[in-house]
């Protein structure tokens, strides 16, 4: 468009002049202001004429902002109505002559020029009408024609204002003693500022156009216009270098996002079994997954314990300790040597197993071993205590962290279903299998939420429910008490039996039989009774866990009881052997020195296998624990194999030739037994903690067990089990499991600490042999290796006078922290209540407010244009049109009319939502009758 180009040049020249002439900062500022007004507000603004005081101007801007918006809407409506088959080319064509005229006028002179300049801006906005009152004549006619009726009222108002402002301007101009020349300068300077702003505006549009929810065609057209505009005027205002920088920034953002995503993927890939667990979760719900997560956590913890034990005890012993067969404790006794390699013996952890690095008895009591002077006994004790310390710390820390996470549960409830509905699909899924998993997981999660919701909605007979719950608890307490008494009774009897020889098979195995019978009968019994209570499955699981836990404590009790009996008898036996061996040794030395007259204590020339030795109760205890663990593993795996796998196979394949439906009927497929598995894991860990001190190899076995069990159970659950009838969501924090674990940890800490602190270690095996107490090794180290003052320091620290105040202090601290946390809890509740209230308030507010805004209109605009939809895709006249809907409509088109009216209504009904006030009022685009799209461009979707 050459004409337009010419106009632009003229304007450019003007601007240059202005810049060179202007020496008055205030003037310029005023002009800017005026220009801004002129641009954004159309008529109302333009009349500001920059002669008002700044503050006044600002005020004006504020109050006019809504009006301007309303006008914007009107204008759009008007433009649409006018509709004219104008597309944007027409617009610019239209505009060009005016521009030129404006430019010419500008050059002409003073106030007149200013007017025409104003003219221009208005023309560009399609707001010609407003000037009518002032100037009248031809311009007004034109404006009216374009604007249509909708504009009329507004216009009148504006005109009034117009006049007022004009007056004001005149006053101020006389005040400011500026001559007409100056006037002209400021004005053209204003033009420049306006242009600058407009260009900025356009640039912003160009930068943001990709964020606008418009159809691509419209975007392309708008972009082209904006670019043309910018290209045209930028030359005058200095090159824009923003684009390159912007592109660079965009690229960097892109890279950064990619990197973040990759990093996230990498991190997820580093979590072991994440996919496996997710898969289980998607089919069986989070409750089953919570077991596997717990299992994984256990595995992590055991790996650390394993590292500690093997790194600091087992491997140094293997590398630097005396080899097998060098001393009696490292040698299989002669009596056992024949059978030491038999499979059955090895499976009982006797023979070579017993005299290996796996057990306590193998370790020597040398203070230091190897070249490094590694203090093995000290290390042994410290690792034993350190394992407990680490486990305690880890469990408690995890619990605290989980409690933190658990706090978020409440506020999440706000949009549970909505979020699930709208955000659960992962749009990146492109793989059929993944998609299937995702469907399953979404369904499962919906079911979980539905169960929760049904629980909430249940209206119940509270009294009946309470009665039933009390009854159930009563029954369960009875059965727990009964089984407790039974265990006690049986243990007592077994002590009696221990002294007799004439036992029947039943009497020998009574204890084990009763215990396994209880373990078999009670859990299902509890489950049946729990039906009465009608709890939410999640809570029911907790109750079930707690009850079975209590039952199993009986198991633990009998086991420990038997163990201590054994230890005591071993201790007595050991005492006699010790005496005997000391006596024999004395005898030997006496004979030796008497015969050879040599007092050198040469050891007797005896094979280490022949030496008399004590029973070494520590190794016995260790073996007991290892056996227990191994048999536990066997039982668990066999149960899965038979109870789940065989059952599933039978149900699946016998179903073809059976008289009733096995799958739906009686045996059916197994469900995954969460409570049983969790408790199995917890008690197993208890065994490890208790046994690890006496059998360092136990931790290794446990690590292997957890590892294999992860794969095995994952497979089993996916292959043979069916989801629970009511899939329920596990609480986010599995603190209940952790609580059980902590309890077990504490319980297993007791016997170990008791043995370490009170029982005398065996005299001829283990790292502490020869000492009266195991912890003497610490005293020894303090005495021999640390400087003397450390010793005194420790003796002070061990003083009861210091310990009692310390304990008191800790109790006080606990009390204090407890009350603080309670206070926080209270305030948390308060805040939650407040949030709820705020939400309700917002709801009410929105109820009364028309919530239409720019985005609504954009949405409206994006509605498919059904009239366009052709049965056959290609339709020649469609694509070339940059804006199909608005531009194609003729003024009188009835079908469109409704739509447009709606548009107008939407635009004017809620002026506040139409874009931030602080934004510089933007140009309407260069055309006299802007397309609908241009009008749209103003208000960005509210963020």
């Amino acid at each position: 468009m050459p004409r337009r180009g010419a106009a632009a040049e003229e304007v450019g020249i003007e601007i240059d002049e202005d810049v060179s002439d202007s020496d008055d900062g205030a003037n310029r500022r005023r002009a800017n202001r005026r220009q801004a007004g002129g641009r954004g507000g159309g008529g109302a603004r333009g009349r500001g004429r920059g002669k008002k005081a700044d503050s006044e101007e600002e005020e004006d801007e504020e109050e006019e902002a809504p009006k301007r918006r309303a006008r914007g809407g009107n204008k759009r409506g008007a433009a649409n109505k006018r509709g004219g088959g104008k597309n944007d080319d027409d617009d610019s064509e239209d505009e060009a002559p005016k521009k030129k005229r404006g430019g010419a006028a500008n050059r002409r002179k003073g106030g007149k020029a200013q007017e025409s300049e104003e003219d221009d801006s208005e023309a560009e906005k399609g707001k010609r009408g407003k000037r009518g009152g002032k100037k009248g004549g031809k311009e007004e006619d034109k404006g009216k024609g374009k604007k249509g009726d909708a504009k009329g009222k507004d216009k009148g108002k504006d005109d009034d204002k117009d006049k007022k402002k004009k007056k004001k301007k005149d006053d101020s101009s006389s005040d400011s003693s500026s001559n007409s020349d100056e006037e002209e300068e400021s004005m053209s300077e204003g033009e420049m500022a306006r242009l600058m702003e407009e260009v900025e505006e356009k640039k912003k549009l160009i930068a943001n156009i990709r964020n606008k929810p418009w159809r691509m065609k419209r975007r392309l057209v708008l972009l082209r216009e904006a670019q043309q505009f910018v290209d045209k005027f930028e030359g005058a205002l200095g090159k824009g270098k923003g684009r390159k920088w912007y592109a660079y920034k965009v690229m960097m953002t892109k890279k950064w996002i990619k990197f973040q995503r990759d990093f996230e993927n990498f991190r997820t890939a580093c979590i072991p079994w994440e996919r496996k667990i997710k898969e289980v979760e998607s089919h069986f719900g989070s409750s089953v997954a919570s077991y596997f997560i717990f299992l994984r956590w256990m595995y992590g913890m055991n790996l650390v314990l394993f590292g500690l034990t093997f790194g600091l005890v087992v491997i140094p012993e293997v590398l630097m300790g005396l080899p097998y067969g060098s001393i009696p404790r490292k040698t299989v006794p002669r009596a056992e040597q024949d059978t030491a390699q038999d499979y059955s013996v090895l499976m009982d952890f006797n023979g070579y197993c017993k005299y290996s690095v796996l057990f306590y008895g193998y370790y020597n009591d040398q203070r230091t071993i190897g070249l490094l002077k590694f203090r093995l006994p000290l290390s042994y004790l410290l690792v034993g205590i350190g394992s407990f310390g680490y486990s305690l710390m880890l469990v408690i820390r995890t619990m605290a962290k989980n409690a933190d996470v658990g706090g978020g549960d409440g506020e999440e409830g706000e949009f549970t279903f909505a979020w699930k509905m709208f955000t659960s699909w992962d749009y990146l899924i492109g793989n059929a299998e993944t998609a299937d998993n995702k469907y399953a997981s979404i369904t499962t999660s919906f079911k979980e939420s539905i169960v929760d919701e049904q629980e909430n909605q249940k209206d119940e007979n509270i009294h009946l429910r309470r009665f039933l719950r009390v009854l159930a608890n009563f029954l369960i307490t009875c059965s727990l008490g009964g089984s407790g008494y039974l265990i006690y009774f049986v243990v007592k009897r077994s002590q009696e039996f221990a002294n007799r020889d004439d036992l029947s098979w039943y009497e020998k195995n009574e204890l084990e039989l009763i215990m396994s019978l209880l373990g078999l009968v009670c859990p299902p019994l509890f489950e049946t009774i729990a039906e009465l209570e009608d709890y939410h499955p999640r809570i029911a699981l907790k109750w079930q866990l707690g009850r079975i836990f209590a039952l199993f404590l009986g198991n633990l009790y009998t086991f420990l009881f038997a163990l201590f009996d054994e230890v005591n008898s071993k201790l007595e036996e050991e005492q006699s052997i010790k005496n005997a061996s000391i006596w024999a040794m004395k005898e030997y030395y006496a004979n030796y020195s008497r015969l050879l007259n040599d007092t050198d204590a040469t050891p007797p020339p005896m094979d280490p296998g022949d030496v008399i030795r004590g029973p070494c109760w520590e190794t016995a205890v260790g073996i007991e624990f290892v056996k227990l663990t191994v048999s536990d593993i066997q039982v668990t795996y066999l149960t899965i194999l038979i109870g789940d796998f065989a059952r599933a196979v039978i149900v699946r394949f016998l179903n073809y030739c059976w008289c009733w439906d096995l799958e739906a009927g009686f045996p059916s497929y197994g469900e995954f037994d969460i409570s049983g598995n969790v408790l199995g894991l917890v008690f197993n860990q208890g065994m490890i903690w208790m046994g690890a001190f006496y059998a360092p190899g136990l931790v290794g076995i446990n690590v292997l067990r957890l590892l294999s069990s992860m794969y095995y159970q994952c497979w089993a659950v996916m292959a043979t089990n069916v989801p629970h009838e009511r899939v329920f969501k596990a609480s986010k924090s599995n603190n209940f499991y952790m609580g059980l674990l902590l309890l077990i940890l504490f319980l297993s800490l007791l016997p170990v600490v008791y043995t370490i602190m009170t029982l005398p270690p065996s005299f001829d095996c283990g790292p502490f042999s020869g000492k009266t107490k195991m912890f003497d090794v610490i005293m020894e180290t303090i005495d021999l290796d640390l400087p003397a003052f450390m010793g005194t320091l420790f003796s002070y620290a061990a003083n009861p006078g210091l310990i009692i105040p310390a304990v008191l202090l800790m109790v006080l601290a606990i009390y204090y922290l407890n009350s603080v946390s309670k206070a926080y809890q209270n305030s948390n509740m308060e805040l939650k209540k407040k949030m709820q209230m705020a939400r309700d308030e917002e709801k009410n507010r929105r109820n009364n407010k028309d919530s239409t805004n720019q985005v609504m209109k954009d949405l409206e605009d994006l509605l498919p244009n059904r009239s366009l939809s052709p049965p056959a895709p290609p339709e020649p006249e469609k694509t070339p049109e940059p804006e199909a809907k608005p531009t194609k409509t003729k003024p009188g088109s009835a079908g469109k009319g409704v739509n447009l009216q709606k548009d107008v209504a939407l635009a004017s009904s809620n002026p506040n939502a139409r874009g931030p006030v602080d934004r510089p009022p933007g140009p309407r685009g260069p055309g006299p009758g802007p397309g609908r799209g241009r009008g749209r461009g103003r208000g960005p979707p509210p963020r």
């Binding site: 990709r210 392309l220 965009v250 690229m251 949009f415 992962d426 749009y427 979404i442 498919p864 059904r866």
Partner: protein, 183 residues
């Protein structure tokens, strides 16, 4: 452009670049994808903006969309005629909005449109039911579906008209932690 055959003019590429979240290369790749969908329909030369549209059936077969339960809706909401016929412009538009660079607000708008099955700019119960059934492959019982839809509306509906307007939707989705991650 180093291409032997000119697909777009420089201006066109620049324009696309400004209007989408794609680079030049990506736009060319998009074009080749578009071209591959129907080699006999789509011209290689786009310099004079040929008018050509691909039907829905071709587009939803793309691996990117194939597994998506809302694939038809996605394509439909980006097509101007609402029937799922996409011109290249709309095709680019679709992938631009779905790209990870697109801002939350933009995605929210289009997500709303996608879930709006009956195209009335409100998410009403039928829309939600359809959404839910697609998400779960109709594995939930009708009562469960009913319950979920009711709860969803109850949760997110702020103006009490028993359907979700965009304002409701936006308000709800803006607080969702997963939204940007997944869409």
């Amino acid at each position: 452009m180093g291409n032997k055959q000119t697909i777009f003019t420089d201006e066109q590429l620049d324009a696309y670049q400004d209007c989408t979240f794609f680079t030049r290369k990506e736009i060319l790749r998009l074009h080749s994808r578009y071209h591959e969908l129907a080699p006999h329909l789509v011209p290689m030369d786009y310099t004079n903006e040929p008018d050509c549209k691909l039907p829905l059936a071709l587009i939803v077969d793309m691996p990117e969309l194939k597994e998506n339960p809302f694939r038809n809706r996605i394509v439909e909401s980006f097509s101007e005629d609402g029937m799922g016929n996409l011109s290249f412009n709309e095709f680019v538009d679709m992938f631009s909005v779905l790209s990870e660079m697109a801002p939350r607000e933009l995605k929210a708008i289009y997500a709303f449109k996608i879930y709006d099955f009956n195209v009335d700019n409100y998410l009403c119960k039928e829309d939600l039911e359809k959404t839910l059934n697609r998400l779960t492959k109709e594995e939930l019982t009708p009562e469960e579906v009913e319950l979920v839809c009711e709860k969803t509306i109850e949760e997110a509906d702020l103006d009490g008209d028993n359907k979700l307007s965009y304002a409701d939707f936006e308000n709800m989705i803006s607080r969702a932690p997963d939204f940007l991650r997944y869409i």
